[in-house]
Amino acid sequence: MTTASLQYPITDPETATIEVSKYVDKWRDQEGNLIMILHDIQDEYGYVPREISMELARDLEVSLARIYEVITFYNYFKLVPPGKHNVTVCTGTACYLKGSANVLSEMETQLGIREGETTEDREFRLETVRCIGCCGMSPALTADGKTHGRVRSSDVTEILAGLKKEGNGK
């Protein structure tokens, strides 16, 4: 997944000139702060933009490789921006036994992307997660933060249509 993400070209003018001190200052005096800083950055942007990583390397006086080493090791950190709509299919064991693979493959078919990818128009991003802890209503997925339980692959069209509709309504 990470290799695919690295191929994604990212130069977002919005993030080109960012002051990273506002993320760093809170953690500056604490040992082992890099991961917590990256969390704060990702909370804000939904991913860790390359420009910010470069700025961060300068500020912390570490090499960029050191920062990328950490980002690419952990599944949680993303190098590509989120889509306008984000769908996360749970692939925990309970969901898997109850057919989350069917749901995921239906999502992939309908969106035309694989898990971990964003559609070209950046409308949708599809991801999987190990477990969202909703094993009681498996298989589960979250769509733009809302959790859907007991999903069947036949529900996929409706869920995606719901997202599109909400998006246009805004």
């Binding site: 991961i35 952990y74 069917n102 802890g133 009681g136």
Partner: protein, 653 residues
């Protein structure tokens, strides 16, 4: 919250607290919120305010009844505590208007109490819950309800007692079950002629009908989960009123660190993350190392797919975990501690952060805690989605801000841990068990469980099971009891094939071994492990080859790649399993699989690599015929099986 400056100060506050006589609690954990509990809480709050009812409406964590989310508990003066499950907005409104307003219970949503009584107290029966738990011929609850109502109607009872269909009885496959409220006396295998007897003897004369009475108590014992679903996890005052920090209070007012370790030794508590190392010994070892600084870490990186025990405890009773961490720090002489929590659990993170904040303000954390001279502070560090970080040395690397690569042990973290200092790392459930042990004594705790494995263990039972939920049982209870007596058996009453424990590091336990009493030893003899407590039920339609593939794929993806046995071995096994699953496997592939498994077990650097072969080995051990079928049947069989699996998944969903 005021700042407590001494133990007596805290004790005084505690005695001044009064628990609400009438209250409604809504379970707001991740599962509950996903099912809409937030909205339910809003509706009930609004309704109670509008009708100006003398009832407190509060949020709590999860009671563990995941299958029935959202769950609402109603407690009224004089009445029993009643649980409602599968509450939607309509039911929430009726809880306010019917139950709170008029004292009428709501049809089809009450979950019967498992604290069943065997005799009546002096309260008269005011409601009767019924449910047909028989598996043959469909649900006849409505029929029995009608005949019950008819009998009540023609009896001389006054006032007439309402008959309600229950959502769940906590008893399964025992025919018609009847529970009398508020006493909790429960009858099973009730036949039509018995109905009249129940009315005349039990309702009118207050006598228990012995041959119908359910005498077996619920096998569950709630120690770690004792306050989950009871307290408001975001309100320290409420936690204190329910006995929170009582253990800290008694330790700081007269127990030495050695006393605490001794008590833990008596209790026999072993690490609940799965490995089962005695907690007291870990603390003692860490304490004995000369150092200017020691650390305690709470391992809350619950990465097992399908497991949600730790999340439920963190969300339901964060102060219990924090209190455990403070007591651990006191015992080993640490002044700094960390919670290492998965970022995928935002609510757990928020509640722990809040708990730390509240405890600091109240003087339960920080310098000179309760005037005892002992100082300790805790911080939160977030995991970032790496399963291997549940391993001690990898977890330490991650807190240090590095890649979570494990390092060879020894030296163990108790000697050289975080920043090179002695460190004790304990799992969430282990820490949550500490304060009840101190409060009630080590002997009390050791009274539960088996000789080698003391106390209780929390399991998250999911998969193809009727009522997916959290259960806490004393060690020594059988897996069959958990699946059938507590969780209601297999979905759609299919045949059970196996139960998987220990997640990607564990193995499958086939049907014939389900009567095994649970302990660290018995599970590892069967080729699985206790693990952190995930328990997956699998039915006849689940392919064991596919299950092995699923877990192995997980471990391969999560392998950090540092050592070759894990990195290469895992990949090669995955190739072999995929080949077999496509129907292209050869008989000798099974030999190769076993060989790679052994190599990985012996030569891998850390627990992830050493245990990753377990799912493959245990499925090979018990279900080799399924592998053979794929090999002999070739691609035609494989296609058929894959199609069946997809269809079965769709149906179960």
């Amino acid at each position: 919250m005021k700042k407590f400056t001494s133990c007596s100060d805290l004790a005084k506050y505690r005695t001044e607290q009064k628990l609400a006589v009438s209250e409604v609690r809504v379970g707001l954990d991740t599962g509950g919120l996903a099912a809409g509990a937030g909205e339910i809480l809003g509706i009930i709050k609004e309704g109670v305010a509008e009708a100006d009812l003398p009832v407190v409406v509060r949020r709590t964590g999860s009671l563990g009844l995941a299958y029935a989310d959202p769950v609402v508990v109603v407690k009224q003066e004089g009445g029993p505590e009643l649980m409602y499950g599968e509450v939607d907005s309509g039911v929430a409104q009726r809880i306010v208007s019917d139950h709170l307003g008029k004292g009428e219970l709501i049809q089809d949503h009450v979950i019967a109490t498992r604290n069943r009584a065997t005799e009546f107290d002096d309260r008269p029966t005011t409601a009767i819950l019924i449910k047909d738990t028989g598996v043959n011929g469909g649900d006849r609850s409505k029929f029995f309800q009608a005949s019950f109502e008819q009998e009540v109607e023609i009896s001389t009872l006054d006032p007439k007692v309402p008959i309600l269909r229950a959502l769940d009885m906590g008893i399964y496959d025992e025919g018609l079950c009847v529970q009398l409220l508020p006493s909790g006396v429960t009858y099973s295998n009730v036949l039509s002629p018995d109905i009249r007897r129940i009315i005349s003897e039990s309702l009118q004369n207050g006598r228990v009908i012995d041959e119908l009475l359910v005498k077996d108590p619920d096998p569950q014992v709630r120690i770690v989960l004792r306050r989950c679903g009871q307290v408001d996890p975001e309100n320290l005052g409420d936690v204190l009123a329910h006995g929170g920090y009582a253990a800290l209070e008694s330790v700081l007012s007269g127990m030495s660190p050695d006393d605490v370790i001794e008590e833990m030794k008596t209790a026999g508590l072993r690490g609940r993350g799965g490995a089962g190392f005695p907690t007291w010994r870990k603390w003692k070892l860490t304490r004995e190392v000369e150092a200017d600084q020691r650390y305690v870490i709470c391992n809350a990186d619950e990465g097992d797919p399908g497991a949600f025990m730790d999340r439920s405890v963190l969300e339901g009773d964060p102060h219990a975990v924090l209190e455990g961490l403070i007591l651990a720090a006191y015992s080993i002489g640490a002044s700094k501690g960390y919670f290492y929590i998965r970022a995928e659990y935002p609510l757990a993170v928020a509640r722990i952060r809040r708990a730390i904040q509240e405890a600091r303000v109240a003087g339960l954390l920080g310098d000179n805690i309760l005037g005892s001279g002992f100082s300790f502070d805790a911080k939160v560090r977030l995991g970032a989605g790496a399963f291997v970080c549940g391993e001690e040395t990898a977890l330490i690397a991650s807190i240090e801000g590095k890649r979570g690569s494990p390092s060879p042990r020894p030296p163990y973290p108790s000697v050289r841990g975080l920043w090179g200092k002695p460190t004790s790392i304990n799992n969430v459930e282990t820490l949550a068990a500490v304060s009840p042990i101190i409060e009630n004594g080590g002997e009390w705790y050791a009274g539960y469980g088996t000789e080698q494995s003391r106390g209780t263990k929390v399991f998250a039972v999911t998969g193809k099971v009727k009522n997916a939920q959290l259960v806490e049982i004393p060690m020594g209870v059988s897996i069959r009891t958990i699946v059938y007596d507590i969780c209601g058996g297999v979905l759609d009453d299919e045949d059970i094939k196996a139960v998987q424990t220990g997640g990607p590091s564990g193995g499958v336990i086939p049907e014939k071994h389900l009567d095994t009493e649970i302990s660290y030893e018995s599970l590892s003899e069967l080729g699985s492990i206790m693990g952190s407590g995930g328990m997956l039920v699998m039915d006849e339609y689940d392919s064991m080859v596919d299950v092995a593939r699923f877990y192995l794929k997980f471990s391969v993806e999560e392998s950090c790649g540092k050592c070759a046995p894990c990195r290469v071995g895992g990949y090669q096994m995955q190739q072999l399993l995929d080949k077999i699953f496509r129907g292209r496997g050869k008989v000798e592939d099974l030999g190769s699989l076993r060989k790679i498994c052994r190599a990985m077990q012996t030569a891998s650097l850390c627990g992830l690599g050493q245990t990753a072969p377990n799912p493959v080995l245990s499925t090979l051990r018990y279900f080799e015929d399924e592998y053979q079928a794929f090999i002999e049947g070739g691609s035609a069989y494989a296609r058929k099986m894959r199609k069946q699996l997809a269809e079965a998944g769709e149906q179960a969903g």
